[in-house]
């Protein structure tokens, strides 16, 4: 490996990262303006407002100490999330396929698990003023059950994220292993090579099922609207993110967009057989995939109410079952 290749690879990663971040911060605006607002028959916000300018604006806000038992850990969480997503992103770059352990599906699943656990921690560490923290001359005369343990709203969302780890992330992980079953390898390099020889998986039956399951898993992973029980506005307001202010809120905004882009890159690698790269302009395809995902996500979220457990379990169950079927189908063929 020559010295020049390494320099080139680092440059490539940086440029790709910048592209990913730029696309990522535009995604909320695109979703809001061109999908939601259009369906709701109104003009909607400027495309750059809800993602790009909001993120920059929060950088200039006063950095306050969050109301949390461990402020340091709580503040570190968004950064951790960003690093984890960045690591997943790194694993997808062709240069890193040499480090087989790093660029394997197991590693990616592991990284995404860290992201999920971060939600649990964020939820339990946030003690917002909007719930039990609101000083209210409570317990009026005749109030019942005085002295009960009071929980913050974020505690509920922490509980819910724990459940999401238990069952909510099944569809995504099953969808990740469909290509592994088809190609017989869990290493990204092998999966891509296999697809270059035999054509992309999206044109096989398992691949089509896998795409649907991947999409559902992606929405659950991102806590996107119908699956947003972790941060449902009707009860937990903003969920685990309640206490983030100023630049930490920026990290969250950026991480969300970056994650959509990364997961669509992952989809590109696993089902289309293209690795993100600068020279072969494959990143344009990734952007297109990301935008298609966002489009569908927007349509889906505009036409459905928030799912409670009653709706959530069947959706996860059905998508997991068809995901498992696709894996079995892949193994048999």
């Amino acid at each position: 490996m020559s010295y020049l290749t390494i320099i080139y690879s680092i440059l490539e990663v940086i440029i790709l990262l910048l592209i990913a971040l730029f696309v990522g911060v535009l995604i909320p605006g695109i979703e809001r303006k061109y999908v939601h607002a259009r369906i709701q028959q109104r003009i909607g916000p400027p495309v750059t407002s809800s993602g790009l300018w909001a993120s920059i604006k929060f950088l200039y806000k006063e950095n306050i100490k969050p109301n949390s038992p461990v402020p340091g850990l709580y503040k570190a969480m968004p950064i951790l999330c960003f690093i984890v997503v960045f690591l997943v992103f790194l694993a997808l770059i062709p240069f890193n396929y040499n480090f087989v352990l790093f660029s394997s599906l197991i590693a990616i699943v592991g990284f995404l698990k860290v992201e999920e656990i971060a939600y649990v921690l964020m939820g339990s560490l946030s003690k917002s003023v909007m719930s039990a923290g609101l000083r209210f001359p409570d317990h009026v005369k005749g109030a019942e059950r005085l002295g009960t343990l009071t929980s913050y709203l974020e505690d509920i969302s922490s509980n819910r994220s724990l459940r999401m780890i238990a069952f909510g992330s099944f569809p995504l992980y099953l969808a990740l292993f469909i290509p592994a079953a088809l190609s017989g390898s869990i290493f990204l390099g092998d999966i891509i090579q296999y697809q270059q020889l035999h054509g992309p998986f999206i044109f096989t039956l398992s691949g089509i099922i896998g795409t649907v399951v991947f999409f559902i898993g992606l929405m659950i992973m991102l806590n996107e609207y119908p699956f947003s029980i972790v941060k449902a506005k009707a009860d937990v307001i903003d969920g685990p993110y309640m206490e983030f202010a100023s630049k930490y809120r920026t990290y969250i905004y950026v991480t969300r967009g970056f994650m959509i882009f990364t997961l669509s890159c992952l989809y590109g690698v696993l089902f289309l057989g293209i690795a993100p790269g600068l020279l072969n302009l494959h990143f344009i395809l990734n952007i297109i995939v990301a935008l298609i995902f966002v489009l569908f996500m927007g349509v889906f979220s505009a036409f459905s109410p928030v799912f409670t457990n009653k709706q959530f379990y069947p959706v996860v169950l059905v998508s997991s079952v068809i995901g498992a079927l696709a894996v079995i189908l892949g193994l048999l063929i």
Partner: protein, 148 residues
């Protein structure tokens, strides 16, 4: 225009706190943000319910005694720079409820909002019109944009 000013003018998060008015102003304001007819989002004004995210606090109602503490708490939770818009006659000057007990000493009405937190803009009206709320937020914006 610097990046700071520009970004602030392009994304304004509004939070609404109701402190015991008659519901008229609250619904008109939520309407103005929500309904497709007024659609405040086209002027990059977003409704949020998280004080940590908010820039502008819109207060309605004459601040009853029990609402004083929550209002203060939420105001303190908003990171600087922040604006307070008092919307409606009650929030501006106490409305019909100011001095409602006459000479009898009473702590029922603490308002107007000025007595509790500093107010940057006052939007009159009973109930306020959605257009007025938007113009109130916009009129007070220079203070927000110019802040450090």
């Amino acid at each position: 225009m610097s990046l700071k000013t520009h970004s602030r003018s392009k994304a304004i998060h509004v939070m609404l706190v109701y402190t015991g008015g008659c519901n008229g102003c609250d619904i008109e304001i939520v309407n103005s943000i929500l309904s497709p007819k007024f659609d405040a989002e086209q002027y990059s004004v977003f409704l949020t319910w998280n004080p940590r995210e908010a820039d502008v606090l819109v207060v309605t109602g004459p601040v009853t005694n029990q609402n004083r503490q929550p209002l203060e708490d939420i105001y303190n939770a908003i990171p600087n720079p922040k604006l307070v818009v008092a919307a409606g006659a009650c929030a501006c000057m106490g409305g019909v409820y100011k001095n409602c007990y006459g000479d009898i000493q009473s702590e029922e009405i603490e308002g107007p909002v000025e007595n509790i937190i500093p107010v940057d803009a006052k939007v009159p009206g009973c109930a306020v019109r959605p257009q007025d709320v938007l113009s109130g937020v916009v009129a007070s914006l220079p203070k927000l944009l110019g802040a450090d």
